[in-house]
Amino acid sequence: MLPSEPPAADLPPSPTGGAGAGIAEVVADAVAVAGGARTRLMDIVQAAQQRLGHLSEETMGAIAERLGIPPVEVADMVSFYAFLNRTPKGRYHIRLSRSPVSLLKGAGEVAAAFRQVLGIAMGETSADGDFTLEWTNDIGMADQEPSALINGTVLTQLAPGDAATIVGRLRAHHAPNALPLFPGTGVAGSGLPHAQIRPSLVAPGAVLFREEPPLPGAGIRAALALEPDDVVRQISAARLRGRGGAGFPTGLKWKLCRQSPAEGRYVICNADEGEPGTFKDRVLLSEMPHLMFDGMTIAGYALGAREGVVYLRGEYAYLWDSLHKALRARYAQGLAGKDILGRAGFDFDIRIQLGAGAYICGEESALVESLEGKRGSPRDRPPFPTIRGHLQQPTAVDNVETFACAARILEDGPEAFARLGTAESTGTKLLSVSGDCPRPGVYEVPFGLTVNALLDLVGAPEAAFVQMGGPSGQCVAPKDYGRRIAFEDLPTGGSVMVFAPGRDVLAVVREFADFFAGESCGWCTPCRVGTTLLKDELDKLLSDRATLADIRALEGLAQTIARTSRCGLGQTAPNPILSTMRNLPEAYEARLRPDPFLPWVSLNEALKPAIAIQGREPVPEDQA
């Protein structure tokens, strides 16, 4: 059998061309590589930005003209993603990972060191144009914080003292660049301290991370021995539920997708692991990519799809090369492309789409929009993606871990899988554990494990509270440590953040509020405006100016946002507030002022400059 290769457009963009190329030439190249398709706008703008450094009005205009679309559409898309620059940025774009976990590991001090060494504030670019310094949301390294991205390169376990070394090394490099611009595809030549990622797997389990290395294609072979309908039945018999967090039955999703009449169907792997505190998909993508590709290919066979796409979060650009290497090996071994494993007519191509920094794209319909080269705003449902998804065709969007489980179910049989876990949550779950514990990392555990048992495993039995499922999940207090990790009790997409006694839960809640306000897509009123209002209300609480009336208002606002928002982001954005109010009310009570009402601003504070000029003593506020 002749090995086939992925289509040319799907190979990594060439980092050559570099300095000197004009806008017209760069845009012409980028559009040509993407086959002139408007739906590939994400690839086009990334390729253009990599060579030009940023996407100016002129560049966006040239792209719009080449594609024959209104210029406002390009600006709309480009302005949405955190990793796409409309203005010039430094040759080295330093993005420090920000989350409650990174902050408790010292990210604030690391940021201060970089600010001092570079002489700029967060969000600024140095005068010589060499460095831009910014915060970014959790980059998927919660077990080795403080971490950072410099262009596409990941640095971990940073200390304040590293800032000067890193800046010095990068400064010593001159044109073109020590590190390729985002989406850079390698770290060669960087020679930077901490430019390495510690293996994160702590506890292998019974399904995914087993002792023997996985045999690429084993699940596909088992699937090909069955009729496509029977493959779907096996997934249903295993009672596999989506591992991204929502827990939708995968067999049902595949069945609905298969039943929808269509010209073509799509299989999409959601590798946009953006929930703060989670990094288990990163470990699967680095260590078990074939299991994921096998699962996608099995889905392709079961659904009658010929095309699969892995949507990889922009923060994981560094995995681009290794994933393509794995993919090329699959084409060479007949596990992808035409007539897979010799089965005439079973064709399935896989390509990788890189995202550009938007948490919301982990929501399946937003992911599909992004994949079509648009802003990542979710769609209205119905219709669901299983009926009308990518390019309006039936589409199954599943998490990396879900596809890996599907491959194992075909390999081992559904009974072996369903024997593990609980009645409603079968199999094992990958947990990404971070925070105040001596053994952070990925744990593969059977569903049904109690929080207590998990805390013993990770070495943090004294934890004061645990954030289960990331910001969109819930905050669990010690009284609930007997609860079980399972869809029917404590669901989690995999993020488990552990906090020791003495940590301020409201500061954590405030970080999460900031996260949601920054990641809201802006489409609907309650999420766009409400997430910012929640943040402001929390600021009032943290500045010790809140009364019981504020708490009631905060709760009412949180509930309206949860009920009226268009998608899961807005619906879950108030969770950190609502779940801590429910489970740790004493944290709020301790902050409350006894007054019936206090305004947002202290009048005396606001008048301070005038008071200083006049030299008058202000009336104490409680007598004012």
């Binding site: 406002v72 897509c521 609907c524 309650p526 606002l557 009920r563 009226t564």
Partner: protein
């Protein structure tokens, strides 16, 4: 429309619908008013404002994007939903810079009219006081971005009805804002007769030299509350 007509209920009232209609379309035809802001019958629905949120079969759902279905149970006019909708309007008032007392649209403004309808009395949230520009570069039209509520009516109308794509969005979250092709109105293809201008529900996109021709007190919502045109159909039918 092909297919069998069917019925569902809204606050206990039977409503007839045909396949392909959304809940809000079927209710409009039946003379039942579901409050809305971003929705416009001539434009594809998009679900920005969430003011038309109803409880449909037990779940909060936007009526403008939800296809009507046989046997659906819709709650629309309830104290709880009115409170929720009022909160949404209050959010929009806090987000932009809205000064009704001297706004050209006062009395014709759908945002203001909904505030009155829901009994909004005082600001519930601290104002965000964003810095937003006024674009008066065009000879016949100006945009006061302070009053934009991101309903996208102009974006949709310019594309689907005017065939121009003058407007788009930029940014995300609270930074999302309306953008004009070319940066300024005078560099765009907009004209005063465009549907995109006519359909602005607030005082954001305004035709020059027409302001205040109808005095305050004699405007659309001074005469009757918003939604009266829709409910009149049902009340009229009863007579």
């Amino acid at each position: 429309m092909s297919g069998e007509r069917f019925t569902f209920t809204v606050d206990g009232v039977r409503v007839e619908a045909e396949p392909g209609q959304t809940v809000i379309e079927a209710c409009d035809a039946a003379g039942i008013y579901i409050p809305r802001l971003c929705h416009h019958p001539e434009l594809p629905p998009v679900g920005h404002c969430r003011v038309c949120t109803c409880i449909i079969d037990g779940r909060p759902t936007s009526a403008c994007v939800m296809p009507a279905a046989k046997g659906m149970v819709v709650e629309n006019d309830t104290p709880a939903l009115t409170a929720e909708r009022r909160t949404l309007i209050e959010m929009l008032f806090a987000e932009g810079n809205h000064f009704c007392q001297f706004c050209e649209a006062s009395g014709d403004c759908e945002l203001q009219a909904l505030g009155y309808l829901f009994g909004m009395v005082a600001p519930a949230f601290p104002h965000l006081w964003p810095k937003r520009p006024v674009d008066a570069s065009h000879p016949d039209i100006y945009i006061d971005h302070n009053r934009c509520i991101l309903c996208s009516r102009c974006v949709r109308a310019s594309r689907t009805l005017d065939g121009k794509a003058v407007f788009g969005f930029e940014g995300r979250g609270i930074d999302m804002h309306l953008a004009v092709a070319g940066g300024h109105l005078d560099e765009s293809a907009i004209a005063a007769a465009d549907k995109a201008v006519e359909m602005c529900p607030v005082g954001c996109i305004v035709v020059k030299r027409t302001g205040y021709r109808t005095p305050y007190g004699r405007r659309r919502y001074d005469a009757a509350p918003i939604g009266s045109d829709i409910t009149a159909k049902r009340l009229g039918a009863k007579d």
